[in-house]
Subunit: 340 residues, 6 copies
């Protein structure tokens, strides 16, 4: 069984029920999630061995997060404890023409205060096959960015496959650095990058282009720009999203292997139950496909896109769909019949 | 007032809220339902006199089911008490491309252990006009099948109209018999059969055909095959369902009287609030139409299909729509305006 | 800052959850609302100074309504206390082809028993710019109608802009008068009328016409009929609603200034979370636009229609959308992306 | 099986959860109850045949009440339909030193508007053994009082046992009459009266006394005063309540048969889950005991007091305890061990 | 009407339901509270004019707090907006031998970052009669302590009565100062101090004593020690709490006027619904009594202690008891009878 | 770290909320628990390594149980999958004089159908220190009893300490055997037995005695009777429970080491939040104490009894109290103060 390590922040998610606005809420549903952990949950559900590395505060709220990680069958063996608080995000779920709203409450979180050199990456990566991180972590604090760099360097040195999700969040990046100061050094060890080209060029400080994701002629040249500064880069993937409204999305995907473009055809996603974490579901599907000899490139991008679609029907950050459910949808059956 | 008797199992239904998956549920909504009882509830709501015959365990959960039957204005006069437990089904309500999921938990239920000859059908049918059963009951156990056969024979002997809903559930039928061993003998007393032709041919052990439900030329011949072994058969009806996804169905219907095909035109049903029991709503509408001199054949199939559509908007197994609401929809007004 | 006064009834709203029918409900969500108060809430959210005049019973339920008014930042300075009870309306929220259902429980409400001359309108209107009322209030009782007339006369005498929402509710008007006995006298002081032409002609006792809201040729003539008996009338507006089903509406709007027709283009509204109060949201947007020098007539009707659309996505009677959200939609962005 | 008829009002009860004050409530639990109906529910649970006579509005809320009556296995055969609304009472459940709070919202209720002579008491009482009413009904309106008088006269004429619960509610009696104008005529047909002596003397216009419920010498003389004007009176009973605080009561009872005093010894009731309806539970126990040959007078008052105690542990108006549970407590076992 | 200003932090309170432990919670009830605001709410409920001064973040969660302040009828006229986040406290409500548990999550809160001189106290205090603060605010940060000192100095200069609640929270005070470095300077302007003597001596850096709160001989000498460094000090009060277990408290109080000790007798408080904020309820009662000419010193301490008792029966931080309810309990009636 | 293995059944627990009776419930809280698993959870919380061996069905409900085991930090390494269904128990939580009610729904559960020899006990016990089982498992079916015997024999052979909780449930034992046919053979390998003497004598087929648990003279002789047939027996312990009512218990304990009696003094437990699993909490405390060199015999029984007390304040089957909380109570501090 392949083993995948992910590193990042897990947050307490406090969401209003029944599409209520924040000002109407008298209670919040409490779940836990965070981009890199969400990827680990997908992979654990697909039967891979997974581990999540993070920093949690030593209090009851940190313990709840720890319990959730265990419940999802992800290893907690190398989690560090300390710091002031668990980061929080408040979520108001939109509907129709009203979009969902996220209020970040991440100041002074445990992982923002993580000390460089405090994680023993060598030991963590000993029997690992894959390391996954995303652009959210270096956006939190310079300490978090430094530890992230230690991780990719250690993974690189140990020959472990590295996947990077660009994941740009403009409301983070508040510690005085811009993505282009930090991300190029981190991305250069990547074997797989997930993101759209605009974000990729912005984060790597390259000139803005005008990608047409339907144009199989021009796209390869644009994707190729990312390969220049990442010598190990094998795959770039992009989630294609068309937002009709908050309850209705169209979702497809692209996988580029440095030579050919593979499309997952666009699917209707309506109604949207919860779209947070759908990009992580895509990422999880991508890693699963690339680690799975039974799936070729087309099969991989189809699986990733179908996983992303199904995530939209599931409350919370995690994609709790099974391989069988994803394969059924990837295979073209979107009828949603009752299973009994 | 006409009196209709139905016989079958009533189950405790435990469903997750807000489209949660089973693994996310910390509580279950508890309601009660079962195909033949659901039909009785529809008919009680339409003002008919109804009675439900079943077997319930003598414990608090059985008492809750009993209370629900009374609440729905269905007679409990001939319910038998005994056995280990009330059958349960767990329901996870899907959305969009994710279908709903039913987990049956019916082992050792009270009705599975019912004793042949323990029900006094003669007395039950004394002032009844109609008897309804479905293919779920003979699928439970050989005892349940035997009692079902006693019921149709008694009804036949007493000249009562018999309706049969084929209702094939592959996960039942676990006691060593196949439908074709049991169903033909049961179905041969039918005046009305509800089901699609594939199921009908499979259950009666006939050769598979390839029905085209839009083809008014070939359909009658196929339906006619069912009349051969059921000498009293007057009507066959089929619910037409096209599943766009779990939240979006198209629903129509067919009524065949041995001569002509009557269509209820296909309607959009979106969003689907709860589709469990929608076939029973169709059946209830059909019986109502056939018992009601004010509705001709076209009116009957229109009423049945509109009842089925409205059921999809109602949580739980029962069709709680009123005659007026169904007639409004059957009459073509699907605007769903606020009534105030 | 402009100050707007509204006058009318605030009700306790008891609604079933999760689309449950009344007969399935074991609890009710309790909120508060009423047409004229809903307009005040919209305007308070847009930053205007607002005040709501009403009559509340001196009991705990009346106190809850009072607290809600304060919470919404609407002045309670001139609320009168007394009477038997707070009016109630029960709401069952429909879905798809099943419409929502309102059961009024307003007999003997505090405002129905209000005494003429008991409100000091002169003092209330001292520093006010705008007075808004609707056709619901005169429908409650002859006392309520009398006080409403005192209000419009006082507003007229003091030169305050008066807006009138026709708001016809056939299940009210039970005290022996018809709209045409009461409404013409009330409407004649209007500067702004909101309503469709059928209702306007019915309430003013004029002959039924057959308006085509897409016909820019014939419409002005019909709207002009309303100007005859209302010498100060400047604007008439109409909400355009096309009800596909209870979960899917199309919403547009018309503003007529006595000369030209301004259209807000029709928008898809799906899913509908809660459509009660959407007309009040339109009215609130209209008053905001007319009081706001930055919005021209086209901008005003676009804002009003977009406010109405967004209201459909919000639970409860109030439009809790912000100016920024409404402007984004009015400006054409209905993508409902996550804000984070 | 003995048959008991009760007559009165059933209300929608809207209660806050978790001891919340009204001003904190965002939803209400909705149940149904009313003194005379509560008595019928107790008796139905004890296996007697019961029927409740009342007037319900023809709307969805009235239908919900009707459904609840059926669910509780009480006959609805002679319920009258009409009127504006179902009466409501709001309940805030206290704790410790904070008492529970009831806000009546009963103006214009269906039963307040009942027409004299509109109920066919002769037919209702044909096969009945017992009629029960309480002092709440004549307090509602003069019409309700008139129908109540028709009922007791008919019951008297037909030789049916009549029980009367004094049930004084000072906030009712608002139609211009005092209890002493109405109650003596009604009470004079009683075979059984439940109430404390202060209330009895007040309602019958007699001089205030100072009863000492522990004094077996003086009590009989005081109870005897009630026998003077009620020639058929056989039993008077009193619930003994000592309120330590809202969560802690002491409950006992007295039964007087015109000769001897029978005491049910005082029991600790803590915590109190819900004390509304505990007097009705006492009344139900009393009727059960008096109709049951197996219970002598001491057994009857012990059963009634134990039923009253157990009611305090049950949410809602009804005493849902079984005969076995009540007999266990009446027999002295208050250990509350887990039954499994 | 007297006007009272309070200054401090308002927090989002996230509490588990039904006595669940944090690790069992899947949702949190969301309310708002904070010592000084809680006092303002009590006083607003008693009919005084009140205003709360604080700093709130400009985001949806800050807006919710703002709305709650308005709902409670407390003026928001001088609230400052800015900073990262609203402070949070998580609450797990204990029962019996298991105590409640608070997890503070207040790092980087808006008020911790408040700028000295940024509040215009002169304008705020212009028509005020009383200023209240507590020892929580100077514990948050040195900036918060500095602004608190500005407030008491301004109030002192303007001749406004100042009350100080010692309120020691050991888990705060993390910015490098101890209470004895900060509190003496703040306390010296007090007219009224609430606290126990141990805390008072600790915070003012005085030697530990061993107070016996039942000893009327020795107590005055100990209280007198506080008067030395606070020249305007008139009253010192102490809440007497005896904790039998988390669900059972005994509550009394002491008021000392520099000469005599006034006792409020100890009352049983069981069950405890929620004890958070009970000290603030005491403080609110104390201020009310001292501002109210109708209450003498004994009446004042009785009112304060009864308010504290009643708070224990109310969920949330606020004492939502009315004057009438408190006076009833202060007058000795703790029977908790149903009010109807 | 010591490792403890437990073996038995884990059930889905469906409990009504807010003390509702079954007939009032419209939803059930869903948790998981079972005597032997509950013991494992206690020990995992105390920091021991634990593993639970059981049989789960391969369906979504079985998966939920699996997830719960992981969440509680108990190893799932040797769980067997198969069988029809997960056993269920329905729980109605009593209050005061009304006891809680359990309805078992365990027919055809996965573990009832477990095959002898299907568990590899040797491998499971390889690095284990302790094995715990209870009398519930052999009561389920003869297969379950057989596997239980295999386990104790294997543990005995490998020199592992064995603890046995007698746990008599009369409603189980339905497969034709009585405890005395099965239990003696199982118990004879015990090192520690938990139970009261009546149960012990009944289960081992010995003559009924009349133990007086306060009598230090006679008790040792009675306990000594158990040592005769269990050659390795070192300790017998008994939970002392005095049930005042369902909400008020008194709890103490006895530990006998074959020579001396050690008492944990009786403590008041009120209110009782949930008493299910309190015996397992006692057992968990006992094992912890006996495995912990820092606790002597008196310390061990004090810890066990305090753990049992605290469990009564916690919802669900598990004792989620920490070592620190238990030690605080065992040390005599039952004040339940707020921890903040």
């Amino acid at each position: 069984m392949k083993k995948v390590i992910t590193f990042g922040e897990i947050l307490l998610r406090l969401s209003t029920e029944r599409h209520l606005r924040f000002s109407q809420a008298t209670n919040f549903n409490a779940t836990y999630g965070g981009g890199e952990f969400n990827v680990a949950v997908s992979l654990a559900n697909y039967g891979l061995e997974t581990e999540f590395v993070t920093r949690l505060p030593k209090n009851d709220i940190g313990d709840c997060a720890l319990q959730e990680i265990r419940k999802q069958n992800v290893s907690t063996a190398n989690i560090q404890f300390g710091g002031d608080r668990l980061g929080i995000y408040f979520l108001e779920t939109g509907a129709g023409t009203r979009g969902s709203k996220v209020v970040y409450d991440r100041a002074s979180s445990a992982i923002a205060q993580i000390e460089p050199s405090s994680i023993d990456w060598k030991s963590i990566f000993k029997d690992a096959d894959w390391f996954h991180w995303s652009g959210v972590t270096p956006a939190i604090s310079s300490n978090a960015a430094a530890v992230c760099l230690e991780a990719v360097k250690a993974a690189h040195a140990m020959g472990i496959t590295i996947s990077s999700d660009l994941n740009y969040r403009s409301k983070l990046w508040k510690y005085g650095k811009e993505p282009k100061d930090i991300m190029p050094e981190l991305l250069k060890y990547s074997h797989v990058i997930l993101g759209d080209l605009d974000t990729a060029f912005f984060m790597t400080g390259q000139e803005k282009q005008d990608p047409d994701y339907q144009d199989m002629e021009s796209l390869p040249q644009l994707y190729d720009l990312l390969y220049k500064s990442a010598p190990d880069l094998k795959y770039v993937a992009t989630t294609l999203r068309y937002s009709i409204n908050a309850s209705h999305q169209k979702i497809g995907g692209i996988l580029y292997d440095g030579k050919d473009i593979y499309y997952a055809k666009t699917r209707e996603v309506t109604p949207v139950v919860d779209r947070v974490g759908s990009g992580d579901a895509f990422m999880g599907g991508l890693i699963y496909g690339l680690l799975n000899d039974d799936l070729d490139k087309q099969g991989t991008i189809d699986f990733a896109a179908a996983a992303c679609c199904l995530k939209h029907t599931i409350t919370g950050d995690f994609n709790l769909a099974s391989i069988a459910e994803i394969e059924q949808l990837a295979g073209g059956d979107s009828s949603g019949k009752v299973s009994r």
